[in-house]
Amino acid sequence: MSNNKPCGWLGGSGKSLLNLLVALTNAALVGGAMAATGDFAQAVQPFLEQHCNRCHDAKKQKGEFRVDNLSRDFLQGGSAAKWAEVMDRISSGEMPPKAEPKPAAAEAAKVVEWLAARLKEGEAARLAKRERVSFHKLTREEYAHTIRDLLGVTFDYADPTGLSEDDTWNGFGRIGSVLSVSPSHVEKYLAAADTVLAEAFPEAVVEKGRKAALPKTFGKRLKGIDLRGVSNQAELEAQGLADKVRVEMWPGHDLTRASPGNIPVAGLYRMRVQLSGLKPKNGRAPHLAVYAVNLDRMLHEQDVVAPEDKPIIVEFTTHLPAGNVNVRFGNETPGPSNLPRSGRAGNRAFFSTKDGRLPWQMKLTDEAGEPLYPFLIVDWLEWSGPIAEEGPTFAQREYLPAELGGAREKLTKLAERAFRRPVSTEEVDRLVKLVESEVKSGEGLESAMKAACQAVLCAKDFLYLVEGRGGDTPVPGQPAKQGLTADKNVRLTQWELASRLSYFLWSTMPDEALFAAARGGKLHEPGELRAQVQRMLRDPKAARFAEAFPRDWLQLRSVGMFPPDKKLYPDYDAYLEKCMIGETTAFFREVLHKNLSLREFLDSNWTMLNARLADHYKLPEVAGDQFQRVSLRPEDHRGGLLTHAAILSLTSDGTRHRPVHRGKWVMESILGKSPPPPPANVPAIEPTPATQPKATLRNKLDAHKRNENCAACHAKIDPLGLAFDNYDAIGRWRTEEIVGDGAGANPKVDASGELIDGRKFTGAAEFRKLLVEDLDKFNAAFIEKLAIFALRRVMTVDDRDALAGLAKQSKAADYRLVAIVETLVSSELFQKR
């Protein structure tokens, strides 16, 4: 710490005085002027006087650091950073130093907590100040959805040729101030525009001297014998058996000959496959997975159950880029070795499980002819496409003029949709000029139009949601006014409101109906907004909200971040991971569709399961890959979000469950609080010597908590996580904890605990009941998360009143989800920047 200028909180410059005024006004908003400074005198001042000032004041400045005159303004980045340092030193026990009288742990903890809370508020305020920018970049997912609606083509944003992954903040993937643009992003946007436009405006293929309207089509059919490859093909053909050859796929077996090969043009392609799927008794169904290796993309996966003599046809369509596509077609289920010498038939043709096996080969079926392992048996598969309508594409019809003179009209239409608002004459002029100069330099009209389209797709107004234009929205046909309105609390324009609503619920641009409402000037009226929300939630695109919001709110991106140890959790695979997230998403969707209460998220007597997850939970069998509502009994030990495998595993670290992280997650996602960060010098949990009895992680943590510096905070965090100790790192129910180190039997799980307010519980079920008692806390937290998602910014002290109002309205509506969404959308908060 160097050289602190002696500027007490009243002695600063004009600017900091202004900030102070702002701070005071904010404090007034949250409950009484001087609240923050007043508390300071009570909560921190005595501690400082007793323990700190003697070495860090005007007379003596150890370490060149003064604490007595440190500004109490926690909104200022500079002083906040110093207070953070003070907090860290106290919380780690480093200060006061050993030679000095030691403060009581509880006393120090109180100061640390008070400082942490102020710093958090200050951080949010500073973030918000930076954040009320007018430019919220589209996420790559939103970019792709918008392209689809604007140009009618699919953009595979996650492929190696796609866009870079976006940054997140506390789980949220769409915060304006966090999403950034570097030159390499711009290069990727340019390339993405090239790709998208090539498909939107396909070049005519010249066939037999005539230009054909449609690109050439593609088809490939592979029979069993082609897929397998046998040594005696000629012989089989002579016997008339060639067409009867099937391919039996053992667990873990891939067919490498199933690739479509060289795809002529980008577009939608269909794959069809005829196959049987044999499920062993009490075992898992075989799992078909079609994975494009070079695109690193799962094209399709599903369980297949169909008798050997009654194969079914599975088909799906997928978007593929032009060029070679390399596909792995697999039966992704765990099972025994499938090497030819023990498992599959090798080069020998296979016709039926009744064929008989070579002496050294493992049996396929038991004596009753029932399969012993999950098999797929494939007859044939075919690829075809591109699937396209006759004649010109959507983009050609909408945006391609017949002659140069028509360019202005078409470009106006494109720019208005792409920028999601009316455009000025100048904006269109620039585009028209580009088309003209391209034509002049010898390009055809379509190619010249593509250049203008590319400029539109790389323009700031397309890539960003621009908010805050206020009255400056261009009037069609008139020159643009310059710049944006500077007022921070400015109301959104009708157009901005339409976009906010559309990206909130659909993750894409507004549709014609929303544009029409904006054009009519009535969108901001509560009745109109409510009607729009209801309409939008009925639209299939609302599924994106049901997927994107829980992913952000519940931090579902972290599922699988530390993939579980294969040896400890052999059952864990990519499909299970997908199903885990699927349960949580389907659960949210169900609450949304049925307009259920938020209470269901905390405790429910139902959940959404598919076959794989029911098997994972050891619950009664559920058929198929689709998630369906399943009633739960108490002995199932499930109910509410907190028993979802996704939630239980996202806090784990790959080898073990982590109660503290679970507790932290509950605080953040359910109670809306952030615990202070741990001090930097925490000692690690010591391993248990091999001779001592095995200890649960809880026992080890308890030892840890004897350190009184830790105990004060952990008493608040840990019970929230320990309540779920009956679930392992991948969310399975257990009564014993499997422990590697130490001697003797595995210890029993103890999931009991006591909340900081004294309420006790014996395990997860009772804990869930306690959470329901605190429903109002969750209600407030949920509404804040929803607002962050909708407004693409962090909530601050300035928003507290508005949020409290929404929470009250939610309570009046029995915490029903659709009501909450409607109330938020029609609130002042939603309609302002």
Binding site: S134, P183, E187, P687
Partner: protein, 457 residues
């Protein structure tokens, strides 16, 4: 201009490269200013940064003796043959990094302070990007960002503190570097002209708006404008490179580097990436490379030597001897791959010198003792760059003057050394500053640096 073309090194390099799988074409100097021509005449200076995720098993990694007659520790044994090309350094740290968990990879080359609570964390510029600013006019690609995962898992950060997305797929990188310009030069030139017009329009449009808005709100717009402008500069640069054919890589080398290599074959994957880096350097496609060989959440398991866990799992070994032994083996394996990279660089001769002599390589981690996130005494090895004036051959140790000796039998004691800096002046930024100077970046300070590392210059 012809005097530059007749520079002996250029000719001999071309001659040499032809035999080694690539022919390099000489830059056409018409498009370059005289100043640049002079810079081209100077011999290339290169830097590579390679990241080790999750720290190491510090109990076995630590070299215990300082000076020239030190003994390499077991995981580092493969580097023995490179003794004269390397300097292991103990005791370095980032003051801002102390106490960081999974964020330390973000600040390894930037030394910025990361809030553990996330927030709108803004990084600062990374050392490699300052170097790239100097080398950018001289090579087709100003820098190359590689990583174990595609996207923002990257070591390189722009001046705006924006992550520069990295590539993880050798084939994609190869195609970007050496792929033919589709349609030939004329088509490409036309394409670039067109890109130029598009960017012009986009910029003009954004500038109009910028005039009207004030301070805070301008930040995001400026970030966008800077990015677009930079792409415009790159487009011009690409245009001037158009007449210079890309090096032709022989079929066998190309086929090897464009295979679909699975990350489950860790050794094959690493060696392919390293081969690609050597090729990029020796064909002078770029002079600055960052490679996050593993990230804190994605450090490869190495099934081929019986290690099924990721490095993150291993690093949280909880004192289990078996896990710790595996972590050591994983450390040794990663070091062997690094040794392979040095071997390959050394094998490319350039007259009296070799490629390694003109390439500085920093190999290290932002974490030391992963189990409880201790990040002092960071694993650090500086290699190569002898022709740039680096002096190697000793183990520099900033801990020993105070510690006198290491007591690795006392695990807790050594973990403390790896969690709290012994010498608070021993900053990693000093080393980065040293490298910046060798790359002719004109700066007296980098982040919190105190001065260059005198022992290696």
């Amino acid at each position: 201009m012809s005097n530059v073309l007749s520079q002996k090194w250029l000719l001999s390099r071309r001659h040499m490269l032809r035999g080694l799988g690539a022919t390099i074409a000489l830059p056409l100097l018409d498009c370059m200013s005289p100043l640049r021509a002079a810079a081209i005449a100077a011999k290339p200076r290169r830097s590579v940064f390679i990241y080790i995720p999750n720290g190491v098993n510090v109990l076995t990694w630590q070299i215990t003796k300082a000076g020239r007659d030190y003994e390499l520790s077991t995981p580092l044994k493969s580097l023995e043959k490179h003794r004269e090309n390397i300097t292991p350094i103990s005791g370095l740290h980032h003051p801002n990094g102390i106490g960081q968990a999974h964020e330390c990879q973000k600040v390894w080359l930037t030394a910025a302070k990361v809030s553990q609570e996330g927030g709108a964390f803004r990084n600062t510029v990374s050392a490699d990007q300052l170097m790239a600013e100097v080398t950018a006019p001289l090579t087709r690609f100003s820098s190359l960002e590689l990583s174990i995962s595609r996207g923002t898992t990257t070591l390189a950060w722009s001046r705006d503190g924006v992550p520069l997305p990295a590539e993880d797929n050798p084939k994609a990188v190869f195609t970007r570097l050496f792929g033919a310009e589709p349609g030939g030069v004329d088509v490409q030139r036309r394409r670039l002209n067109r890109r130029h017009s598009v960017l012009d329009l986009v910029l003009e449009d954004a500038k109009q708006l910028r005039r009207g808005i004030g301070g805070e709100d301008r930040m995001k717009l400026d970030e966008y404008l800077t990015a677009v402008r930079e792409v415009e500069v790159r487009t011009e640069r690409l245009d001037s490179w158009l007449n210079i054919p890309k090096p032709v890589v022989d079929g066998k080398t190309a086929a090897n580097l464009t295979r679909n290599v699975s990350k489950t074959e860790a050794g094959d994957y690493y060696r392919t990436m390293y081969d690609l880096m050597v090729l990029a350097l020796r064909t002078d496609m770029t002079r600055v490379i960052t490679y996050m060989s593993g990230s804190e959440s994605h450090g490869l398991a190495i099934p081929e030597i019986g290690i099924p866990q990721t490095r993150h799992e291993l690093s949280h070994h909880n004192g289990d001897p078996e896990q710790m032994a595996r972590l050591s083996r994983s450390d040794a394996f990663i070091t062997e791959q690094f040794t392979y990279f040095l071997d390959q660089l050394q094998a490319v001769k350039d007259g009296e010198e070799n490629l390694l002599d003109r390439t500085m390589v920093l190999f290290g981690s932002g974490m030391a003792y992963g189990h409880s996130h201790g990040n002092a005494n960071l694993p650090t090895i500086l290699a190569g760059g002898k022709s740039l004036g680096l002096k190697h051959g000793q183990h520099i140790d900033y801990n020993l003057p105070k510690l006198q000796q290491y007591d690795l039998a006392n695990a807790a004691g050594h973990y403390a050394v790896c969690s709290r800096p012994v010498n608070s002046n021993a900053r990693l930024t000093n080393l980065l500053l040293t490298m910046l100077h060798k790359m002719e970046v004109n700066t007296e300070k980098f982040a919190d640096s105190l001065g260059p590392v005198s022992e290696v210059v």
